[in-house]
């Protein structure tokens, strides 16, 4: 509703014409380089974690969790900085989030069914 009052207050054209606050916020080249460095570190971490898992037996779930956490961290960096979502207007941020929420809904509900169902069924004749 915050949005409503702003655009009403300005009586502006769409949400946009008055969003000077967001529009010229600018990400500097230095930031890009730092983000890239962070991405490289994460990259090394994910391969490193995989390599370690090959040597010491970690719980499988932990391995997946580490890999996914790193992938999500990378994604967040790319989305926020390289894709400028950090300095974009609200609607853009909302849609960037919507994609991941939509996917999460699909996964959580579908996997809920699989957990409860016990699939695949054990082979052999039905009991």
């Amino acid at each position: 509703m915050a949005k409503t009052s702003t655009s009403a207050g300005h009586g502006a054209h769409g949400d946009g014409a008055h969003s000077e606050h967001a529009a010229h916020a600018h990400i500097s080249r230095g930031t890009y380089y730092r983000v890239f460095a962070a991405l490289m570190v994460l990259m090394a971490l994910t391969v490193g974690a995989w390599w370690i898992e090959g040597i010491v037996a970690l719980p499988r779930l932990l391995g997946v969790a580490i890999a996914m956490a790193i992938a999500i961290a990378k994604t967040t960096l790319i989305v926020l900085y390289f894709m400028h979502v950090k300095v974009s207007e609200r609607a853009t941020q909302l849609y960037a989030a919507a994609a991941f929420i939509g996917f999460a809904i699909m996964v959580i509900i579908t996997m809920g069914d699989y957990f409860a169902r016990g699939w695949p069924p054990p082979p052999g004749p039905l009991p």
Binding site: G9, F36, A67
Partner: protein, 275 residues
């Protein structure tokens, strides 16, 4: 809500729109009021489209999650037959290309045409490199199906593969004999019976490679589209269309490129880094 909203009936009447393009640059399409509005609209539109792209790959990831959850052992074993070093190199290639795209946008913003062209050029090179590496990985798998030890041998009729192996899903699919029963007690119980090394198409190994080929294949298709977009961007930048007041195409095309990168950031650990 509507009633409580503070409303100032516009004090200044809306700017009457001049039809003729003297009032603004030629890039501004007639139905927009300002360049700023046009840019924000384009960015928002691209993001909405990216939502659909994420959901499109989301369907594949969904299938991946189901089957990995059901066949953890199969997954661990199947993944060992992918070329992890090449996958890692490709990830780095894409991450670098994301950086160059971000720098290209920055150069466009600052009106530095030379740097813009350089960055776009590097991006094109990196994108092509990615596809070449990916193509090599694919050809390895196809070469094995043809009985050759590697793609070069496949072409030249050189060294043959020792054991029969064909990891391209299809009627000839054959997974090489499992290397020892690793982690038989891990994972959830019912799957174990499926995890017995079964060589042919009827084995869940095939699911892994099916998903691998579909996911990376669809990703590669997106890479080709992305390369086309960047080529067009390079062309228009070269023609001097891009200015500090009008660099929306770079910004929007860049968003698409980053998305391709993000998809790969997930594909890499999910297919290459499985234990």
């Amino acid at each position: 809500m509507a009633t409580t909203t503070p409303t100032t009936p516009t004090a200044t009447p809306a700017p009457a729109h001049e039809h003729g393009h003297e009032a603004h640059g030629r890039e501004l399409l007639h139905h927009f009021e300002s360049a700023q509005q046009q840019k924000e609209t384009a960015t928002l539109g691209m993001w909405i489209f990216l939502v659909t792209e994420i959901m499109l790959f989301g369907g594949i990831f969904m299938a991946y999650i189901v089957y990995r959850w059901a066949f953890p052992d199969v997954w661990a074993e199947a993944a060992h037959h992918l070329n992890t070093p090449l996958g890692a190199v490709n990830t780095v290639v894409l991450l670098v290309s994301s950086l160059t795209v971000a720098l290209a946008v920055n150069a466009a913003e600052e009106g530095n045409r030379r740097r813009l062209l350089t960055m776009l050029g590097i991006t094109l090179l990196l994108g092509a490199t990615f596809l070449v590496i990916k193509g090599y990985e694919y050809s390895e798998k196809f070469a094995h199906c043809a009985g050759a030890a590697n793609p070069v041998a496949w072409v030249t009729g050189g060294a043959r593969l020792g054991e029969s192996e064909c990891l391209v899903p299809g009627r000839n699919f054959i997974f090489p004999e499992a290397h020892g029963a690793e982690g038989a007690e891990a994972g959830h119980g019912t799957a174990d019976s499926y995890a017995q090394p079964q060589a042919g198409l009827g084995s869940p190994y095939q699911l892994f490679y099916f998903l691998y080929f579909v996911a990376t294949g669809l990703h590669a298709v997106h890479m080709v589209i992305g390369l086309t977009i960047v080529s067009i961007l390079t062309f228009i930048a070269w023609r001097g269309v891009i200015t500090p007041t009008y660099y929306t195409p770079i910004e929007v095309g860049g968003l698409y490129w980053h998305l391709i990168d993000i998809i790969w950031v997930f594909l890499f650990p999910l297919f290459y880094l499985v234990h």
